[in-house]
Symmetry: C2
Subunit: 787 residues, 2 copies
Amino acid sequence: MVGKTPLTGGFTIPGESGYEELTLSLAKKWGADVVRDSDGSSLSEELLEAGYGVYSTICPIRGHNAFARKHPETLQQTFLMTDPVTATGETLVIRLLKGYFTEQFLVNDAPEAMRYWQVWDRTAERLVPADCWDYLPAGQGAAGEEETAAGHPAAGKESAAGDRMAAGMEASVALRGMTPWHEYTVSFLAYRIWEEISMYNHVTNDWGEREHLMPIDPMYEEVQDYLLRWMEDWCAANPKTTVVRFTSMFYNFVWIWGESERRRNRFTDWGSYDFTVSVRALEKFERRYGYAMEAEDFIHQGKLHVTHMPADQKKRDWMEFICDVTIRLGKQLVEIVHRHGKQAYLFYDDSWIGTEPYGECFGEMGFDGIIKCVFSGYEVRLCAGVAVKTHEIRLHPYLFPVGLNNAPTFMEGGNPARDALNYWTQVRRALFYAPIQRIGLGGYLHLTEKFPDFTDTIAAIAGEFREIRALLAEGEPLKYKTKVAVLHAWGGLRPWTLSGHFHETDMHDLIHISEALSGLPFDVAFLDFSEAKTVDLFRYQVIINAGRAGSAWSGGSAWEDDALAARLTEWAYGGGVFLGVNEPSAVPGYHRYFRMSQVLGVDLDTGDRVCHGAWPIEHRDAAEDRAASLDAMAAVHGLAAERDRTGEGRLEAMQKLSKSMRLPEKQHMYLTEETTAVLAEENGILSASVHPFGKGMGIWLAGFTYTPQNARALEELLLLAAGEPQGSLPVTDNPATGCVYYPKSGTLAVCNHTLAPQKTTVRFGGQVVRTEEIGAGECVFAAKASI
Amino acid sequence: MVGKTPLTGGFTIPGESGYEELTLSLAKKWGADVVRDSDGSSLSEELLEAGYGVYSTICPIRGHNAFARKHPETLQQTFLMTDPVTATGETLVIRLLKGYFTEQFLVNDAPEAMRYWQVWDRTAERLVPADCWDYLPAGQGAAGEEETAAGHPAAGKESAAGDRMAAGMEASVALRGMTPWHEYTVSFLAYRIWEEISMYNHVTNDWGEREHLMPIDPMYEEVQDYLLRWMEDWCAANPKTTVVRFTSMFYNFVWIWGESERRRNRFTDWGSYDFTVSVRALEKFERRYGYAMEAEDFIHQGKLHVTHMPADQKKRDWMEFICDVTIRLGKQLVEIVHRHGKQAYLFYDDSWIGTEPYGECFGEMGFDGIIKCVFSGYEVRLCAGVAVKTHEIRLHPYLFPVGLNNAPTFMEGGNPARDALNYWTQVRRALFYAPIQRIGLGGYLHLTEKFPDFTDTIAAIAGEFREIRALLAEGEPLKYKTKVAVLHAWGGLRPWTLSGHFHETDMHDLIHISEALSGLPFDVAFLDFSEAKTVDLFRYQVIINAGRAGSAWSGGSAWEDDALAARLTEWAYGGGVFLGVNEPSAVPGYHRYFRMSQVLGVDLDTGDRVCHGAWPIEHRDAAEDRAASLDAMAAVHGLAAERDRTGEGRLEAMQKLSKSMRLPEKQHMYLTEETTAVLAEENGILSASVHPFGKGMGIWLAGFTYTPQNARALEELLLLAAGEPQGSLPVTDNPATGCVYYPKSGTLAVCNHTLAPQKTTVRFGGQVVRTEEIGAGECVFAAKASI
């Protein structure tokens, strides 16, 4: 393999007009075969003619301000709810956009929109009759009448929508006949007058006077007609483009900005459909589904409906409805692209809402490729699993002056080479297992001029990528027999991801588990709760349920299903390993809070059991352990005959691993069974436990934090539990490193997960295979490894 | 005052036959005026004749084994539920007493009892029809059929109930037609064959072969008749007794022991009524209330119904029913005692269930005094508030070889003098504010022989007690104008206490708050949620709601009452300070989890808001603070004119106090309002906050731990919030000490709350009043203090 790998190809470079020489020299250095434009940059004729494939990024729903101004009713919308206001008397005036970023929103007070407005008494959770409130358009909401004292800042900025904003800004609702000391809210439809990704790029890159781009909504037939014509024209006008990169389709993830700079972000959800709503969509939905969605179905008491919580049937229906509209128009656009001899790729971020790349109908759109912006291994797996020909990952950092959390990147104080290598080590673990055809960068190439070490690092990364891609193209790496399923509310429709990037979802245990699994040699499936009742669970040796009670990841009310609990219990009794993390299977109303407590052997006391004595949370001495837990442990997987050696050894190994993971302690946990063995605790507060159950067992962990070391510990824990020896695969003795073996070519890849040099020894079946010294973040490929 | 205080009286000494000389010499040393017996000890003629008042302890429901053997159906009972068992097929055999201490319980399989038995499918939460299960009495439950593998230990001990136990031990229930992989439980009635306090004393003091005393149930008319006769006979036979001390009435708090020594305590609840159940009670209740209680009303999915959780109406009805029975018979017994020229005191522990000393009907029994065993200040207040003539507190340590958690006391390794002083410093803080007439000890006096320092310490304690008692008898100490109400589900029916002693309930925030308040110069009321809607809340400047969501202390579903939320909101807006601790007013189903969030300005995200951006949890610089929070803060209590100085100073003082309390950080908290000011946080996790609301405010603390220092910080925080200057009372500059001023006699008491010497300066209105050096745990009394 080594040496045969091509030195070019599979690489997309962002070109930049005015920097033609730089573009072409870096394209050569990095082995690029494609040049692309970016939001805010364009490609000159020289670059278009340079012999590279050409990606052109288009965002179908923005950049049509002339059309938008002519058809303002086709602007995209959303439901908003005012912050709750306490009535101190029977009347109350509530300003609609108070606390919202008025450059983003404009009240939609058209009669057909106002039919959907709602006023709620949030204390009584009761809808206020429409005859108890009046709309006061701009200028009529007298400030003196208001219950709330804080002033409203003037709209300082000039923009296309400036006048409209000024007009809508003071729009209010006057309530009468209220119950004093109750809280009230108004839900209303608002136009979105600044396309959010453009808004973010504008603000982040300080684009100043540049016109605010407005999003138009293809739910309206006139927009659909307009976009089909526009796509046709665009293709004709861009003959050099080989790949049209859609960024993305029509609806952005939900991103609601606030008035105050101290709370600019009011809501961000990469998986939510709240930005798909409009009067036309509500009307169409009602005709199609036979029932009407109302404001509260989206507003949900002001909580909206975050992707991390289970979706109700109405939300599922709405998603299906939006996907249908998206896919039908998307298919027509892709057909136009194809008719012009170009390929169509989808960017799996930004306006991806409605495409659902793992949905049943995604394929109908006919995309040739998918591009995913990645920070982490799980995002590589998410990209790789989509059923298209070409999978491309967009590496970080973007060629922007600042990166995450406005940290300096391509500017003084930044170290983009280090950042790039750091992200690459995160991502690479998963690349060994997931076929990805291309990598690329985004942003403004000229920013790299002052960072030659960055351009060297990217060249090295590109080389490693091509090496791994070639290995995988020959055949799969060696994997364990143990198959793992992750059980959550979204299941296979949304595998690997939660909603957004790692750093946005790292408060959830499951993203850490997913990140660990993304680079481990297990086959991993994602099941939703209804699939868990129909598929053959005995395909899987391990099922993981991880998250906070009530979340989509733990499952919430899905656990009210007796058949689900019974089926998983049967599977565990028959030999399955149920791994619960944090508050697995938790739902109120039953005799235990964790529905799987009979398997897990632990439960969480929600307060009802504070007077109950429970089995002490303590490590027991070996003699006692053998007498109690280990009698049962040893029976697991037919190891009874090896009881003394294997049984005891396995529990001790699990305890060692659990302790090495530095798990949090979780308050209020108790052992439900005498046979539950404590794996880790601190001062009697539980961190990890194992409970033998029939031929299987339940393992509970208080949490899980992804690190390469913890990923290794999780791997070993799962193997111990499933009874598969770790020695069946080559393994490094240094968990800061990892190795993957490709039997087809006999190649052993050994990589350093850290930015410090590492020494590591690879063993296989107890024998030393080789010893390596690996530089910071590097990967070495050993051909004809003697495995 | 000083010097005029009597040197004797108000002291009850436990006498011991065989140790007459010791008893009399210590009685003299301690100034005792009363001699008592204890469980397991008696008073000789010499002691009875020594000229002291004589307390005799009686426990009406135990010590009648001959009667119990003749009328076994009148033994006290309880509902028990088996541990849940998972069905691996359609049949299942469940052993009834598996996991229970069989020396305590015996299955009641009489036909009238079995009508109340229930079998539940706990997976489906469904009652199993009676024709799907059969009772297998002892000997018929073949072990081979059982689903559970663990063996059942032989009943090794000899006892009066030995045969019965052996017979009932293997009793089982056989189920058929079950749903595989569901969990099943059996609820059944069991006789209690060992009175629990006697059982505890027996085991703790190693009484070996002594007969197990059985509890008889006065719900049965034959027991009532028997007890009335017995009381009459007892009085006649004990002419020297001056005070009959009832220990206590008829029903013990619930104390369920387990089979395994690793889990001897299965359930302990000092406030629960589950030990009052019997076939007769169930029948009588149904006739009286018109509806039947069933097993599940007590079993409650195996959770039983802990006092820390809100009671439902059925439980309230049952409590009322039991109190009525208790008070009617109790009254008759007390009348007999009075007829014999003796007084009757109630011990406010052990079998106190059914007496409810703060209940409306308690007075009908006619008790002359109440005796409370105390470790803490709040227990002193609990005792002092009962409407009887004499209040006596039983000090710790008990004269037992071992104390709490089996720690050595009157044996090698123990230091009972230090223990006594330590407990005294806890208790004394409250004595300054609560009239207590007597103190005393319990246990075996001969154990003190080897601990002369203990007898000295008790003499000093007795002297201090008489000093304080005399001061309080003259008039109340100086207190703040600020009145505090504590709001919880039990309100005034169960003030101060939660359920049991401090060390048993210290996982609840409220017990720490109560302990702090018990020794602070505030008037304190306890309100339940229904009272909070009817009383004039403006009597109180501060209302405290403290506890975990769903608990009786936070309130749980009581907060579903809109009127409650509205009324408290109105009160806060009008100037009240709502202090919420941990999860105050939390209930699911509303737009916020904390119903008082509009006052508190904070809420807990249960997962729905994980994508919502909130106001950053950070200390803001002074300039910003003045601009936002402090504008509103300064308006509180009309301090607007002093905005710059007072407003800012008050917030800073609150921040300093909050930080000094070393509060926990609570995950998932968010600020609901921009005007909420952070008082304490760590890495963006909130510990304390304040939110101005109208003329009042909401203060939120993540928790509260009682220490003398934290009690002082709480005092200052409440004064700051309520706008009352701390300087209006004398105060020490060292929070390890405290002072109380009695205006009537002009006496200033200054005491050391610690076991180390302390130096302290007392200030009043900014002036130094005096400086003291106080020995370990001591109190000094300064007459004619220049206040």
